[in-house]
Amino acid sequence: MGDDRIRSELADLAGYAFDEVPWTSPRPLSESRVAIVTTAGLRVGGQPDWNPGDQSFTVLPGDRKDLVLSHYSPNFDRTGWVVDPNVVLPIDRLDEMAAEGVIGSVADVHISFMGAQIDHTLETIRLDTGPAAARALLDDGVDVVLLTPV
């Protein structure tokens, strides 16, 4: 099966880990504001397509409309996204959890990067765009981030 082959080809891929894994003790979930950060390579309609090596990020608007999956890699399924974006960006599920009181609230700001980066040290993300994305989330009062890959 396709995914098995991709997984086995990527098994030994280099990656960057911090010497000490950072740790933030969360507030109670029922009081937490939750955002999604995906590496699916989402854009808002009309924005340029993602190119390989681009370590920037896109802020996804609060109305969540007009999102385009424009990741450059052909190596993953897109039909799931077309049928139901929640399979990548589960915002409707978060809305339900907020309505139930399981989480405190859903952020107005969500963010997309693009995964499958060529530079495995992710220098730009570590030193520039990652902290900038964190600032955008903190400015919205975000306590908890769920990260989703593709």
Partner: protein, 233 residues
Amino acid sequence: MGTLASVLEASGIATVALSLIRQQVETTRPPRALHCEFPLGRPLGRPEDPAFQRSVLDAALALLDEPEGPVLVDFPEEITDDSDAPLVCTIPPADNGDLHPAEAEARGLLPAWKRSADAYGRSTVGKVVAAEEVPGLVGLFARIADGEGWQEVGLPGDPTKAAADVRNFYEEAALSLTEVVPGARQAETWFVDHTAAGDVIQRTRVAMKEQGAGFYFWYYLLPATQHHDPEGG
């Protein structure tokens, strides 16, 4: 993604990462990760299955109760892709005229693509051309596949992105030609192995490689798992 999780965590945000490739989270060591052995492209597992998606979220957010990390937990259920079971779609008969059969095929699929776009309200076509221009784009790829130089033919943009427009157009059209939501990679294998345009892109990939095109321009014309070389390589 594990590295990004750590950057956000270090900024004071508690993070939980879903994982699709276990070795990558083992390497990058995010603070909290739920590994989901689900199809690539479907980190919540199942489209149009809110209960299942919720169960994944519940398991992920439960990791926030862990007192210390890093934490890596496996979601108990696995889902495999269905690339071995291509969709069965009846392609609308096309009036070939003077067109290459693949271009005529794509033209015949345009109404199905439109039905899908209307039904779901989104599309991944449009990196280089709009859906209405995909049939003509297929015609250009057919010329490369049939022996013309890729630079002489002059695609309207990055060949990789142009090929993605063709494949995504077909996969989205297929959503209207089948009764069920396809499993992951079912539409992909249908496109590659059972359509004239899939054959054209496959032969274009081989032709561009032989013509000395840059790696990025031919390698990503199809998913790496769908490369069928003439000698079986």
